[in-house]
């Protein structure tokens, strides 16, 4: 596997960073994950836009323009001969001093890596079991709108879900509202309306979440951004997730109880697969 590291391509084994990289020291960084299809990273512009927003907030200067990163990503996909895969872009503040102050750190580190993924099957969305996590996420977190490399809560929640034979963990915020899952945004269907939680209460403004909302509009499906409690999810006609690696995931079981499936979810997934192929 070939890896992109600070403007150069290197073999995986040689792609290393110094132990004083602040990404390693303190999680002082951001990342984005994209689905690659037909050799093209899906919605890379939107992903990089979110990264730039985060970098501005954290005052990490981006060493490459989105256009340059797009170009390097194309080269990386070609070098690895992986037309269908997942692409990860990582940006950290780079080497720096001990202590939280970001003073004198840099230049920033930029890494792009590729990862295998099950090919999409437009007729069959992935199906997952979900469990409610015992870990609450903060309802108000100034960093929640960025995809940072501070992911211990998500890691602990994922490990807990796996220990309970589930595929992902439903995260409730400190107000007791359902926010998202460890790896995805949450959607559910109620009275034929496609509902999702609002962002800014613990939920990341997902790029694929926006894609799903776009698809619903095209399909003429009504959408609704609303707060929901865990208990109320019992009344959902279907539950599904959106995330960049898999697109859409249908939830078939929540905390041990079967969740009904809806043809609407398959319809949305088929549209997502069409979009992937076209863009």
């Amino acid at each position: 596997m070939v890896v992109f590291l600070n403007g150069k391509f290197a073999s995986e084994a040689k792609a290393v960073v110094r132990v004083n990289d602040r990404g390693f020291l303190y999680g002082d960084g951001l990342f984005e994950t994209m689905r690659v299809f037909n050799g093209r990273p899906f919605r890379m512009a939107q992903h990089l836009e979110r990264m730039v927003r985060g970098a501005n907030f954290l005052k990490i200067p981006m060493p490459f323009t989105p256009k340059e990163l797009h170009h390097f990503a194309g080269q990386l996909i070609e070098k690895n001969k992986m037309p269908e895969a997942v692409l990860r872009v990582t940006l950290t503040r780079g080497p720096g001093e001990r202590g939280y102050s970001p003073k004198n750190a840099g230049p920033p580190t930029v890494v792009m890596t590729m990862h295998e993924i099950t090919p999409v099957d437009p007729a069959n969305p992935p199906r997952w079991h979900l469990v409610t996590s015992s870990f609450q996420i903060p309802a108000s977190d100034p960093l929640a709108s960025f995809k940072t490399t501070n992911k211990l809560l998500q890691i602990a929640a994922s490990a807990e879900a796996e220990a309970r034979d589930a595929d992902d963990a439903l995260l409730v915020n400190t107000n007791g509202e359902v926010a998202e899952t460890a790896s995805a945004n949450l959607f559910w269907i109620y009275h034929d309306k496609i509902c999702t939680t609002p962002t800014g209460r613990g939920a990341l403004p997902g790029i694929t979440r926006a894609v799903i909302l776009e698809i619903c509009q095209v399909l003429g499906l009504q959408t609704n951004k609303r707060v929901i409690k865990r208990e109320a999810l019992k009344n959902a006609e279907a539950i599904f997730l959106s995330q960049s690696a898999l697109g859409l995931v249908s939830i078939v079981n929540l905390d041990g109880d079967p969740v009904p499936e809806s043809p609407l979810v398959e319809k949305i997934y088929a549209s997502y697969c069409e979009m992937l192929a076209k863009e």
Copy 2:
């Protein structure tokens, strides 16, 4: 500078980790910072105990026993000829896959690095200006009792404090209670009582915090663990911080207002310096 990396000693420039180290990918790790004095890391046993607690919680197997780490630390201090310094120990889950699941990751990465520090002057504790951060920390965070490498909030708060010409940022939790600062635990004096915030409401159970409480007991000073609001800090007879790198820091200014100094703070600092020299 010589660095300890996974059982070996390497020059700083050669101390590298793969870009798939989960510490770099997701902040999937823990660290400890210790004051080194007379060639010995102060309270290393307690620091490693906290690291082991965190590693157990996160299910990261420790590749070395505390005794082995203590031994390696001694060698590192000698190799670097730095009898007075700061020692940092970092533990991450090691190389792993993309995705939050910690499955199949490892072996863990262990790094020890040394850093220069201003020598202690028993007659003069460091004096800092403090500002109240605009960033709130969660009042209930299952990870707050461990020293994790997820430190973006502290980094953002430190950068904000520096932009306001201050040395550290006072962090208020989402309940509106003062919790700690970005880099330290908080103490204040009220009616000759040495007060500090309780842990478990955003405040890390600091090793040096425990040392200060121990010193107060020896000196016959009354202590009190209590919740305090930012406004009430105005009535404090003195404010000081405890942290492992500097020991004790006297606060002389909070949000632009001078803070009175107390001879009690100097007395506690002198005892801390004595302890450093003795242990």
